[in-house]
């Protein structure tokens, strides 16, 4: 069941690595309206960077395809980020989530999912080989006292 979002944004871009910095900056910039701490903002940026990089590197290893990032502000001060690709898919999600596992070569560390798990509260990965992968990450931001007017 989908929770209702009070605000949301959808970004769609081709899987070019030059869009990685755009995607994480845009997601963090949208999340800024929730009045996050600097640490929370950096955590969101980092997790989005990992998810988008995965979509680019593993979703479309030898082609350029569509990547969709949806950022939603949900009840209880919770941010939900979905990163979707329509690429190759992951044959074994559990294996892919293991630390140090990578099919990405020397410039990848295999720590992407580990970072997403540790920087966000919940991580759900759904993948269908040949159809693509969807990564949903949720983070509840610490309640902050509103400044007295």
């Amino acid at each position: 069941m989908k929770t209702r979002a009070s605000n949301e944004v959808t970004l769609e871009f081709p899987s070019r690595s030059s869009n990685e910095s755009f995607a994480r900056a845009a997601a963090a910039s949208f999340a800024a309206q929730m009045d996050p701490t600097l640490n929370e903002l950096e955590d969101i940026k980092t997790a989005v960077s990992e998810a988008v990089t995965n979509a680019i590197v593993h979703g479309y290893p030898d082609s350029i395809g569509k990547v969709v990032v949806k950022v939603r502000i949900c009840p209880e001060n919770t941010l939900e980020v979905t990163v979707r690709d329509y690429g190759r898919g992951i044959p074994d999600v559990d294996k892919a989530r293991q630390p140090m596992f990578t099919t990405g070569g020397a410039e990848r560390s295999g720590m992407g999912f580990t970072i997403m798990e540790s920087f966000m509260d919940r991580l759900t990965v759904r993948s269908v080989p040949g159809k693509g992968t969807s990564v949903v990450m949720k983070k509840r931001l610490a309640p902050r006292l509103k400044a007295a007017k």
């Binding site: 690595s17 030059s18 990685e20 910095s21 994480r24 640490n39 950096e42 955590d43 940026k45 980092t46 960077s49 990992e50 990089t53 680019i56 590197v57 630390p99 020397a106 410039e107 990848r108 560390s109 720590m111 992407g112 580990t114 970072i115 540790s118 920087f119």
Partner: protein
């Protein structure tokens, strides 16, 4: 990202700055390897003071530096790690493999 190299007394200092992500990772790896191969240092210092953002691509870079230095029987020191990059390294347990100060 940018890498500024300074070499003296068999110590190679690489000052990394800017954003370390997958987009720049391949060039950064090549630059790092070229610098190490040219200097053949006994000690490699990676100074992250100027890093404004780092994701797991930075882990791959540091681990590659470590491998390269092991081949030379040398050591790696990572220093001046900003808080965000530090959380990335800690989440991956990189401190168990490389000296971070």
């Amino acid at each position: 990202m940018e890498i500024n190299a300074k070499s003296a007394d068999r110590q190679l200092l690489l000052e990394l700055s800017g954003e370390i992500d997958h987009h720049g990772a391949r060039d950064a790896l090549r630059e790092l390897e070229l610098a190490v191969d040219a200097a053949l240092p006994a000690r490699l210092v990676l100074d992250l003071a100027g890093v404004t953002f780092m994701d797991s691509s930075g882990i791959a870079l540091i681990l590659r530096a470590q491998q390269r230095m092991q081949m030379l029987d040398g050591s790696v020191l990572v220093c001046h790690v900003p808080p965000q990059a530090r959380r990335v390294l800690d989440a991956a347990g990189v401190g168990r493999l490389v000296t971070i100060r």
